[in-house]
């Protein structure tokens, strides 16, 4: 059974300027042990999408439409108690900034005990700490660190602790929102390596949300490109890099610096990402697209299979144009 199936998801925020459609009509699936990379720039809706998968979108935002089937059950229809039990135990999430995700007045060990007790109030301290120690070992942290307070640890360590906390209950799906953005590149490499190991050793499914194509090239099995709140391309990692269909994807690949390559010039896309507080008709990328033509500004392209296993939303591929 497909682990995760998202259908027609819409998330909006009520702001002073009106209704901001942060996520629009998102569809995708994720199988067991698969890693999906969701790539996009700021305000493309990827973080909101991540939060929606746990039904954690903060007000004034809310899910306005769609379904999220986790192991066959629509988590948007769950009552609070069952939702609470799903979070942490089936789906878990780590965020960008580990500095603020830990309670500064609690020891690391306490964090783990709390997490375990949230789902099993009768769990014994000793057992909880033992389990924590084991998982920390797999993450490369010595168990005596459990007696430390967060401020005594470095950024990379805190992020590893966050990963440990999110995995302590053996969830099937881990959502990581920009997990390495605030870390230095050397530590980032360590964390990515770690995530890759965990993928295989724990049979973990992952959704990796990031703006960095380099990261997903290493860790993801398939990639979804998000722009202006919508998914515009979805395919296997190799396919996306070899044969990108959506113009934004093509440009994105050109402007990601590749220090292993010989080229010495960087590209950019004129204009800037759209402000979603104003409704945009047609394709959201039309304003910056080098291949824009008539239908682009009028009609929203729908995400369809252009080739088997390769979906794109672009009028260029509508009925024999390209």
């Amino acid at each position: 059974m497909t682990l995760l199936k998202v259908q027609g998801l819409n998330v909006s925020y009520k702001t002073m300027k009106g209704e901001l459609k942060a996520v629009q009509g998102v569809d995708f699936e994720l199988e067991q042990e698969e890693t999906l990379g969701i790539v996009g720039e700021s305000a493309c809706g990827k973080s909101t999408l991540g939060l929606a998968l746990l039904n954690l979108v903060p007000p004034p935002g809310r899910v306005t439409d769609g379904r999220i089937f986790l192991e066959g059950e629509d988590i948007l229809s769950l009552d609070n108690e069952r939702l609470r039990r799903t979070r942490g135990k089936v789906v878990s999430m780590i965020f960008q900034d580990p500095m603020t995700s830990l309670n500064p007045v609690k020891k690391i060990g306490e964090h783990f005990v709390e997490a375990i007790r949230a789902h099993n109030p009768r769990a014994r301290r000793g057992e909880a700490l033992e389990k924590a120690g084991k998982i920390l070992g797999e993450l490369g942290i010595s168990p005596d660190r459990m007696a430390d307070y967060p401020h005594q640890l470095s950024g990379g360590m805190k992020q590893r602790i966050m990963i440990g906390l999110s995995l302590i209950l053996d969830p099937k799906l881990l959502i990581a929102d920009e997990p390495t953005t605030s870390l230095d590149v050397v530590i980032e490499a360590q964390i990515l390596d770690l995530l890759r190991q965990l993928k295989s050793s724990l049979n973990l499914s992952m959704i990796l949300i990031t703006h960095n194509l380099g990261i997903v090239a290493e860790v993801a099995d398939k990639i979804a490109i998000m722009y202006g709140g919508e998914i515009y391309e979805l395919a296997e990692t190799k396919t996306i890099f070899k044969k990108p269909l959506f113009p934004y994807t093509q440009l994105l690949l050109k402007l990601v610096p590749n220090i292993a390559s010989e080229s010495t010039s960087l590209e950019w896309i004129p204009g800037s990402p759209p402000d979603l507080s104003y409704a945009i008709s047609g394709c959201k990328f039309a304003a910056r697209c080098p291949f824009v033509f008539d239908p682009c500004r009028k009609e929203r392209p729908s995400l369809r299979d252009i080739e088997p296993g390769h979906r794109a939303a672009c009028h260029l591929y509508d009925g024999g144009r390209k």
């Binding site: 925020y13 002073m16 901001l20 004034p60």
Partner: protein, 292 residues
């Protein structure tokens, strides 16, 4: 192009009308401002609108219940309470207004100074302010008022001294955070001096919180003034004053004349409440929680 000569009033009025757009905070500010403006206008116009003279004795029977000729009844001295309510806010407003002005002129610069300077200046200042802050407000105000004596200015000073530490603390802590911000350092690198940094860079950013404190301050000052008057440390008893009426109405209350205390009490609550609404509303409007 920036139009330097544009009047400031029009934008200010427009600002008020756009406030409800800011949600509950905006509505609170508008309600509070409306209450305050009405009360202040009423007080200013009192010489022209009071049906009877507020200070004349025996315009009616003593402790008479509310009636058509005396909508709020009379007090023990036979004075018309309704007229006294219309006119009785002036002392309170003067004292509260003066107190806030003193707090602003002393508390803000000291807060800026302490936040920006090194320990040599900040240390003693903070110590002084913390000591003042440690005193229970009303007790301190009473003590100072007792020493200084009656009078609008003295009362204002007594209230101001109690409140200055609050301004000081809030501003100092904001300055401490702000002076580390890149835009302050940028000014240094551009060649700007300390004075410019304090007044042109930091102060405008601190102003919103000052506005919030000031509103609550006025509300508090109003109640303190009423309290001080109640215990006899207020201003000249000859002038109509809500606080005084509450004090004096106590005796009538025992005789069953509830209107002698209720109405002045309500007026104080209304004025203080109006300012509180402004302060709380402003605080919510300026709170970045509203933005995404």
């Amino acid at each position: 192009m920036k139009k330097e000569s544009d009047s400031r009033i029009r934008p200010a009025i427009n600002f008020f009308f756009t406030l409800p757009k800011f949600g509950t905070g905006g509505v609170m500010v508008v309600i509070g401002a409306a209450i305050v403006i009405i009360l202040v206008a009423m007080t200013i116009l009192s010489p022209f609108i009071t049906p009877h003279s507020p200070i004349q004795l025996s315009v009616g029977p003593a402790d008479a219940a509310p009636s058509l000729s005396f909508p709020m009844g009379t007090n023990r001295l036979g004075q018309d309470i309704f007229s006294r309510m219309i006119a009785g806010g002036s002392t309170m407003m003067e004292v509260a207004g003066l107190a806030v002005a003193i707090c602003f002129l002393i508390g803000v610069p000291l807060g800026l100074l302490a936040g920006y300077s090194r320990r040599l200046i900040d240390g003693p200042l903070s110590l002084l302010m913390d000591s003042l802050y440690a005193f229970p407000g009303l007790v301190l105000a009473i003590a100072i008022a007792a020493v200084l004596g009656r009078g609008v200015v003295n009362l204002a000073i007594a209230i101001a001294v109690v409140y200055i530490p609050t301004y000081f603390r809030v501003i100092r802590s904001q300055v401490l955070t702000m002076k580390e911000m890149p835009f302050v350092e940028a000014v240094k690198v551009e060649g700007g001096g300390t004075l410019n940094i304090l007044f042109r860079q930091i102060f405008p950013n601190v102003l919103p919180s000052v506005a919030v404190i000031a509103s609550i301050n006025v509300a508090d000052a109003v109640i303190t003034e009423a309290g001080l008057t109640y215990i006899g440390l207020g201003v000249n008893a000859a002038l109509p004053d809500w606080g005084f009426d509450i004090y004096y109405g106590y005796q009538s209350l025992l005789a069953g004349a509830w209107w002698t205390m209720l109405f002045p009490g309500l007026m104080v609550v209304l004025l203080a409440g109006g300012f509180t609404f402004i302060g709380e509303g402003l605080s919510e409007v300026l709170n970045p929680r509203l933005r995404r």
